[in-house]
């Protein structure tokens, strides 16, 4: 389920899910940089992946994603959010 029904990075997310198992085998704990259907590379830190994403793509959408078995949702007990 998404907030707006459309996530800008859906193509990248789908590609990451296709690759997740193979990435877990060879790059568990690292951060994947995905643009469109292309896995650019994996990085040791999120900051490195972001830096490379901006260097390659500028101010365009790209996905940086932690390579883990399952995503743990962030916890918001706040009632300030409208959802």
């Amino acid at each position: 389920m998404t907030i707006s029904g459309t996530i800008t990075l859906q193509t990248e997310l789908d590609q990451f899910e296709r690759l997740r198992l193979s990435l877990l085998d060879r790059a568990s704990g690292r951060f994947a940089l995905v643009k469109g259907r292309d896995l650019v590379d994996t990085f040791g830190s999120e900051a490195e992946a972001i830096r490379e994403g901006y260097r390659r793509f500028g101010n365009e959408p790209f996905l940086v994603k932690h390579i883990v078995e399952a995503d743990v949702p962030l916890n918001f007990t706040s009632f300030n959010l409208g959802m």
Binding site: M1, T2, I3, S4, I7, T8, L9, L13, E46, A47, I50, R51, G53, Y54, R55, G58, N59, E60, P61, F62, L63, V64, K65, D71, V72, P73, L74, N75, F76, T77, S78, F79, N80, L81, G82, M83
Partner: protein
Amino acid sequence: MPTFTSTVSDLLAAGPGLQISVGPSRELINALAPLGARFASPQLVAAVIDTGAHSTVLNPDVVSRLGIKPVGVASIVTPSTTAALTCNRYHINVYFSEDFVVENVFAIEAPMGGVPYQCLIGRDILRLATFTYAGLQNQFTLEF
């Protein structure tokens, strides 16, 4: 260390709110400024310190004004949702004053629920600071 103290007439009603500015992240500026790219100036927003928020949150309107693009997604759970929601994630700078900024913050995009704020300052920023809520004095302090 920078310290921000605010006294309000009714802290219970208003909450620990403050005016801050948010802008593109240092990483984005460093990557694109040498190429002559132009960015939106930091935008003044009404924010509230929210210990119930895991991360910094921006209203979609603020994201739109900044003209920045997502660099990821985040799954979140809230008190009113039964399943995790997926939100866009952005890389920003948070300016508390002209000479103090928290750089390269990952903020999620989500609508506010009828509150007069465009930004929640979450525990990702609070982990860098000491937050004191002095209810008896209608005062709060954020010390980095």
